[in-house]
């Protein structure tokens, strides 16, 4: 256990450093931006400007400003939205749960369907099942999620509504259960494809192992072999890609939210990009980045605890 604790501590230290690097990057990027926070439509008198500078600590030397900024961010203070004068923190608190729900729904979806497709393809290798799931996987890796989202919206949302007269799948919004299905599916499809491909390869590998032959020779049932012996061993490579996958699915929410008009972080992000609302842009991105680092940390730890065979020193190569 001390070795595992050591591993967790090490990952934690990396995550903290990474978040600090992220904050540093944002801080200096903010300084690179043209203009300053008080350049507005109204001309400000020099004295007022100086007072404002003093109030927000902008007259201090850069290192001091930096420390102040880090402190603010760590307290969850991302400043005030230039657009509607709300604290960015409030926007995040309101929008993030929606994004997170969409992301988690998609991840669950991607994992369950992806694993099943991969397992079926490997067990029924060379049959129509195999061809079908690999065809799906091929589409999944090459069709971007936003295209799929738009297509689903058009056919299952609009056309189905025109054909049947009742909106089974609402085209946009985030309220009823049904309205959450299409966005989650569109977002999950790409990851599902990756998982099913990985799972198929890994299952084929495991199914050729000697212990599977032994299990067969003992007279175990096909389902017993597949579920108890093959899947458990084959699932590890899939767990390894979980980290990047969680990141890509959560980032993907940004685009999907805009297509389906879901009031998540992504929607606010695009709005603020269009309106040049820099504090909101930087605040949401920074928060989201830190969250991704945290998610990655959790996945790393799960991975370390799940498989006793991996070296806990962090050398994955």
């Amino acid at each position: 256990m001390p070795k595992q604790l050591q591993y967790i501590l090490k990952r934690l230290v990396y995550s903290v450093i990474t978040v600090l690097v992220l904050i540093t990057i944002t801080f200096f990027l903010m300084h690179l931006m043209p203009g300053d926070p008080f350049t507005g439509t109204k001309a400000i008198q020099p004295e007022v400007k100086a007072a404002l500078y003093a109030k927000y600590g902008l007259d201090k030397p850069l290192p001091e400003q930096f420390i102040r900024y880090v402190g603010n961010v760590l307290h969850g203070d991302f400043g005030v939205s230039l657009l509607d004068k709300r604290p960015v923190k409030d926007i995040i608190m309101e929008a993030f749960p929606v994004s997170a729900e969409l992301g988690i729904r998609s991840l669950i979806f991607a994992f369950i369907i992806g694993l099943l497709l991969g397992i079926v393809a490997a067990v029924k290798r060379g049959t129509g099942w195999d061809t079908f799931s690999m065809f799906l996987a091929l589409i999944g890796v090459s069709v971007p999620s936003f295209v799929l989202g738009a297509i689903l919206q058009y056919f299952l949302g609009l056309k189905l509504y025109q054909a049947t007269g009742n909106a089974i799948f609402p085209v946009m919004g985030w309220s009823t259960e049904n309205s959450k299905l299409l966005p989650a599916f569109a977002l999950a499809f790409g990851s599902m494809a990756v998982i099913s491909r990985l799972m198929r390869t890994s299952m084929l590998d495991v199914l050729n192992q000697d212990y599977i032959k032994t299990a067969k020779a003992k007279g175990l049932s096909q389902s017993g072999i597949v579920w108890k012996h093959a899947v458990r061993n084959a699932i590890m490579p899939v767990v390894t890609v979980m980290g990047p996958m969680v990141a890509s699915v959560l980032t993907g929410t940004f685009v999907i939210e805009n297509i389906f008009a879901i009031p998540g972080l992504g929607k606010y992000f695009v709005q603020s990009v269009q309106m040049n609302d820099y504090t909101t842009i930087v605040g949401t991105t920074l928060f989201f980045g830190a969250f991704l680092v945290f998610a990655n940390f959790v996945v790393d730890i799960i991975y370390g605890l799940l498989d006793p065979r991996i070296k806990l020193s962090g050398e994955k190569e």
Binding site: S15, I17, I25, P144, A150, N258, T285, G289, E317
Partner: protein, 330 residues
């Protein structure tokens, strides 16, 4: 040769002795032909010839090559020879269907026009220029930086490796798209910005991969042999390490390109793409989604182009990996 001769001699003396006598003195011992014995019967096939031979046996790989060649040639020449300009607006001709012939000049708009009356066919090929340029440039930069970084780290090993890997842990831990988003917001919009932003943190994957390979190769006998015979590091790297790394690098470059194309499209969807009137496949998709419910073809065309390109690169990467896998080598 000589063996055959002697056996022939023996058998003939045995079976033909009754009809005509063949004396063993009619034969003479010419000795083994050293040159013929050592001669190489078939042309030598080195690793790359072998791999390419295997690659081009696959119809899928050839199809991918053809698709990519058409895309690249099209992106270069179609905008030059087209009668339309990608940025020329004509609001009277807005949102026309495919194969529409305009009633003034009687020119055919192959893919119709967009909401500002610009020819979609030309815009798609201009978009191909931007998207493919970004994809190839970014991948090459990532590959170059990653290979050098990973190579140094793996080759020197020890403390240097330790420090360099710690840096990678941190840089690679920063979410890629987040940094790109921030940079795209701050820097002026343009092709150079896109390329810089994308390649800033993208190289870590390649660096890790190369470092792992180099570490593995360094303990191989042929490297130890080369070093013990007094090869300078530069020679070891150029003659022994590089050829063995090339395979894995080529495969990864091929598989990275579709990722960059996707990233570009993704950021364009967030409004962080190339500035209009310039177009990329991503911005075209973004424009298309806005009018999708009324004019679906405006999304379908760029989406098909993106998908086919990503598919071709992905499949080609898979085929390359199979072709270069030493385990499959006969």
């Amino acid at each position: 040769m000589t063996n055959q001769q002697t056996t022939m001699q023996n058998s003939s003396t045995l079976s033909y002795s009754a009809e005509s006598h063949i004396d063993s003195s009619e034969f003479q011992w010419i000795g083994p032909d050293e040159k013929a014995m050592e001669a190489i019967a078939r042309p030598t096939i080195n690793f790359w010839k072998d791999a390419m031979g295997r690659l081009f046996k696959s119809k899928v790989a050839i199809l991918c090559f053809v698709i990519l060649a058409v895309l690249i040639v099209g992106a270069i020449f179609i905008p030059i020879f087209s009668p339309f300009d990608f940025s020329r607006q004509n609001v009277a001709f807005a949102n026309q269907p495919p194969m529409w012939v305009d009633n003034v000049t009687h020119q055919v708009h192959l893919f119709g026009t967009d909401d500002l009356g610009r020819d979609t066919w030309v815009r798609i090929w201009m978009g191909a220029r931007v998207s493919l340029t970004v994809a190839i440039a970014v991948t090459l930069i990532d590959c170059l930086v990653g290979t050098i970084y990973g190579g140094i780290s793996g080759y020197l090993g020890g403390g240097v490796d330790n420090v360099m890997m710690r840096i990678i842990e941190v840089v690679g831990g920063v979410p890629y798209l987040i940094v790109v988003m921030l940079l795209m917001v701050v820097l002026p919009r343009g092709l150079t910005t896109i390329i810089i932003a994308y390649s800033l943190t993208g190289w870590t994957g390649m660096a890790r991969l190369v470092r792992g390979q180099v570490l593995g190769l360094r303990s191989e006998e042929f490297i130890v042999a080369a070093e013990s015979m007094g090869s300078r590091p530069s020679r070891v790297i150029a003659k022994h390490l590089a050829p063995n790394l090339l395979g894995i690098i080529v495969v990864n470059v091929t598989l990275d390109i579709p990722n960059v194309i996707f990233t570009e499209a993704f950021l364009s969807m967030l409004g962080l793409g190339i500035a209009p009137p310039q177009a990329s496949w991503g911005t075209l998709c973004n424009d298309g989604i806005l009018v999708f419910q009324m004019y679906p073809m405006q999304l379908v065309y760029p989406a098909v182009f993106i998908s086919v390109t990503m598919l071709a690169f992905n499949l080609l990467g898979d085929q390359l990996r199979d072709a270069l896998d030493p385990k499959l080598r006969r």
